[in-house]
Symmetry: C2
Subunit: 142 residues, 2 copies
């Protein structure tokens, strides 16, 4: 194993431990897929498919568990755009999304770009947790 990869693994292991998660093989490999390259969007099904395609042995149940654990640990963010599937985003920073309805795909919109103004004060005894903006787009009908 190349030194660089090993160190990356150690680095990832630390992050998992810090989140109170044991660095198991499955979690390390999934974390590797998610945290290495650039940001990505996924569903449990798609991540499982990618993992299996990449030779990683994990069950779908473990993928679901892992996605939720990572989300709770702040490594991922859940995006609600479709009533029938859950999407996850490796970009946990301030940003919003385009949702391509024909394809079921997400595209990030930088948080600096977009602004929401005029939000009324929340009802008494409530605090704003987050503001989500979804720009639903579809293929132009020509």
């Amino acid at each position: 194993m190349p030194k660089k990869v090993r160190e990356q693994g150690i680095e990832t292991a630390k992050r998992l431990r810090a989140a109170g998660l044991r660095p198991t093989r499955q979690r390390l490999e999934l974390a590797g897929m998610l945290l290495s390259a650039g940001h990505r969007h996924m569903t449990a099904e798609s991540l499982h498919a990618d993992a299996v395609a990449g030779g990683i042995k994990v069950s779908l149940a473990t993928v679901y568990n892992t996605l939720h654990q990572f989300t709770e640990a702040g490594l991922l963010r859940q995006v609600v755009v479709d009533a029938s599937r859950s999407y996850f985003d490796t970009n946990t920073g301030d940003h919003q999304h385009f949702f391509v309805e024909d394809e079921g795909t997400l595209i990030d919109i930088p948080g600096e770009a977009i602004a929401v103004s005029g939000v009324p004060a929340p009802p008494k005894g409530m605090d704003v947790d987050r503001i989500d903006v979804v720009v639903r787009v579809r293929k132009t009908v020509t």
Copy 2:
């Protein structure tokens, strides 16, 4: 039957016919619940429960069908805030929502109040269908 109620029923029947829907007993009664009073938010389950509680005989399957038909007819609008349930809103005008995460309830935010700026141009060949803003709130932790 009081004259006023009968006329309301006739009025509703017209709206249904205009939407290409036969004014059946179930559809008229559900429409009555939805279009009479002020705006309301509901899930299929909650509407079915309310209908049954109000003495209206309908099956859950018909409630689902009706909600979708009404939505397609523009009488209702679907709101996506929770990955596991579909919400519907009798307010089909321009507006947004608070979503109380602890309770799973929605509160309207008038469209005039809120504004989203800085939305980038959608990708080539895509048109913006709608912009949804969800202000997620939760009970203040004291």
